[in-house]
């Protein structure tokens, strides 16, 4: 079974530029998550999708971050404009459903450096 795919793996941009990350979840997984992980910290949920609808985006900085999951499969996370504090690893995860006992499966992440 193929895992969660993410691209790119690494990205370096200057502040105020824009960037986009792509995620392809495990086939058949209805729930998709985007996390931000800053070095030395646990993951912070940015947004959760159930199929192509948003379940929770309470911690997404909506003035600069946006995400979509068209057709309920692939997802894209965008940052525009980027700030220095956005430097982090962006993790995509998926789970079969949003039920509380389902574990999440993570992709390898995209390491973003904003200079």
């Amino acid at each position: 079974e193929a895992g969660v795919a993410q691209s790119p793996r690494y990205k370096i941009i200057e502040k105020r530029q824009s960037v986009a990350f792509w995620c392809n979840p495990i086939s058949g997984h209805a729930t998709l998550y985007w996390y931000q992980q800053i070095l030395g910290q646990g993951p912070k949920l940015l947004i959760q999708f159930q199929n192509n609808g948003v379940v929770d985006d309470s911690q997404l900085p909506k003035d600069r971050f946006s995400a979509e999951r068209l057709k309920g499969v692939d997802s894209t996370l965008k940052i525009q404009p980027a700030k220095l504090e956005d430097s982090a690893v962006y993790l995509c995860a998926s789970s079969l459903l949003a039920g509380s006992y389902y574990e999440q499966y993570f992709g390898p992440g995209t390491r973003l450096t904003v200079t």
């Binding site: 910290q41 959760q48 993790l91 993570f106 390898p108």
Partner: protein, 115 residues
């Protein structure tokens, strides 16, 4: 407020010795508890979970964890450590009273196994 504490930033263990990585939690309702492992430059991998039933749960790579409701703890254990177990370990909890089933993450514990 919901929270997860991993009181040790780093745990050092000699190869072949037993290891314990500690986790305590605070939630309003009953918890579902998870352990994940993160190897360098890779995404998080699911290790094990407690949903209900036996307080001792077994997971991948010989790891197990014990749920203790009175002490609100879910410590990760392994009888005999391997050098390859060296990684970053995260404890996470879901509060069953949270309708979004959001995972609350600990800050992580770095496990170093010395030959």
């Amino acid at each position: 407020a919901q929270s997860v504490a991993q009181p040790e930033d780093q745990v050092n263990v000699a190869e072949g010795n037993p290891l314990t990585v500690k986790c305590t939690y605070s939630v309003s309702g009953n918890p579902y508890l998870f352990w994940y492992v993160q190897y360098p430059n890779r995404g998080l991998q699911f290790l094990l979970k407690y949903i209900t039933g036996d307080n001792l749960v077994k997971g991948s790579y010989g790891f197990e964890a014990e749920f203790n409701k009175s002490q609100t703890s879910f410590h990760l254990k392994k009888p005999s450590a391997l050098v390859s177990d060296s990684a970053l370990y995260f404890c996470a909890v879901r509060d069953l009273m949270d309708s979004n089933y959001q995972l609350i993450w600990g800050a992580g514990t770095k496990l170093i196994i010395k030959p």
